[in-house]
């Protein structure tokens, strides 16, 4: 289960605040995954006191609303990433960044599909730079893109470009994953699927033996 409480002293009208919160949730908490199980209790409550002395925000399109939205996105993304980092049994955070999609929504679906893949998660735990599993998870996300436009990088290491696998330093790529695991760091997976302007991120964690151990012992 994930729970969150968000507070701000911004002055914002109810309908605007509710819209902004859902947008931020979609860009943060709804883009994380640890084990693919959706809880019965997931909740975010966001309260705005209005005590900052700022002018009232009454439209989602005004400059002040855009400023507040970016801050709200940042706070929720910071918390969401902390949840994925702390995933049961995890040794590292996986950050999937997708660009070139037709829209933010499409990019988000592809990113979360990759972050959710048990095979990708297990490969990261096994320190295996398995671009094939990443490509497959992007491909079954339900978003159409041309396979010849697919580009995949693991950190700074380019593994696939224009849909073609590239020769790469397997040992260096594996070491990159190993180091992230040893330091509980971050594994960045960069994916481009075309020339569109849609981009989005998703976050997950690797899948270790400890996940099974924890959930075999903790009843739900």
């Amino acid at each position: 289960t994930m729970l969150s409480v968000i507070t701000t002293d911004a002055l914002v009208q109810s309908h605007v605040w509710r819209k902004m919160v859902q947008i931020a949730v979609n860009r943060s908490f709804n883009q994380i995954t640890v084990d693919g199980d959706t809880s019965t209790n997931d909740t975010v409550i966001a309260l705005a006191s209005g005590l900052s002395g700022s002018t009232r925000i009454s439209s989602t399109n005004c400059y002040e609303a855009i400023q507040l939205q970016t801050c709200l996105d940042a706070v929720m993304q910071g918390l969401a990433k902390a949840i994925a980092w702390d995933g049961e049994g995890a040794t590292c955070l996986i950050e999937v960044m997708v660009a070139g999609a037709g829209s933010e929504t499409e990019a988000a679906k592809i990113a979360r599909s990759v972050a959710s893949s048990s095979l990708v998660k297990a490969a990261v735990y096994g320190r295996d730079p398995n671009w094939g599993r990443i490509a497959a998870a992007a491909g079954y996300a339900g978003i159409s893109f041309h396979p010849n436009k697919l580009r995949i990088s693991l950190g700074d290491i380019l593994l696939m470009d224009s849909g073609q696998p590239l020769p790469f330093d397997r040992a260096a790529a594996s070491n990159f994953l190993r180091k992230a695991g040893e330091t509980h760091g971050t594994v960045g997976i960069h994916i481009s699927v075309g020339d569109g302007s849609g981009s989005a991120q998703a976050w997950g964690c690797d899948l270790s033996y400890d996940y099974v151990k924890i959930n075999a012992e903790y009843t739900t």
Binding site: V5, V21, F29, G50, D73
Partner: protein, 213 residues
């Protein structure tokens, strides 16, 4: 059992918060960083094991504009159903009461009555309307809240409320279950030429694949 809020934050370390880059500055305080908010986290005897804090309360000194996002799981927990109804009838709220230990999910009518009783009692102690108090629960699915323990702890929880960073930190610890770290963050930024603060806390480690609306 008595445990102060300052001791509560020592139970588990704080998570590294990986804030994106932007026109904001990270500041201390979590949910209490913004003007008008207080928080507390105490051990109320709800957990099956250990004495880590398990009850948290966040309050606002004024009517706060409220928003929520909730699981789209059809089998929604009683506090989720309660909060959705509350937000449907009111655009403001003043408090969020959170317990760890029992999820109060799949607990039927009795579980829902527990939420109402907890919210009403908290509202009375806080001198608020019952609909001003929202509720979140986490823990074992299928178990009702240890209501007597919660109700007995509420007076101490209310008197522990603080606008300090310690208050926010203790609340962030109290909502954790299998988490190895607590999650709390706050930022300060300019919005329309005025300094605005946004803070938050979260919990989560397993059973994580949110689809909230």
């Amino acid at each position: 059992v008595s445990l102060s809020t300052s001791e509560s934050s020592n139970y588990i370390p704080a998570a590294p918060i990986l804030l994106p880059q932007g026109p904001w500055k990270q500041i201390p305080g979590g949910v209490t960083a913004a003007e008008g908010f207080r928080a507390a986290g105490i051990y109320g005897g709800l957990r099956a094991k250990g004495e880590k804090p398990d009850l948290a309360l966040v309050t606002c000194d004024v009517d706060a504009t409220s928003a929520g996002a909730f699981t789209t799981n059809v089998v929604a927990a009683a506090p989720v159903v309660y909060c959705k109804k509350s937000l449907d009838v009111s655009e403001t709220a003043r408090a969020v009461l959170i317990n760890a230990g029992q999820a109060n999910a799949a607990t039927g009518v009795a579980g829902y009555q527990d939420v109402i009783e907890c919210a009403n009692t908290a509202a009375k102690l806080l001198h608020m309307k019952p609909e001003d108090v929202l509720v979140e629960s986490t823990g074992v699915i299928g178990q009702r809240i240890k209501k007597e323990a919660l109700l007995n702890s509420l007076p101490r929880l209310v008197t522990s409320l603080s606008p300090s960073t310690e208050g926010a930190d203790s609340a962030a610890v109290a909502i954790t279950t299998t988490d190895l770290v607590s999650k709390s963050v706050a930022v300060e930024s300019q919005v329309g030429g005025t300094t605005v603060r946004i803070g938050g806390m979260a919990k989560g480690s397993g059973m994580i694949h949110p689809n909230m609306a």
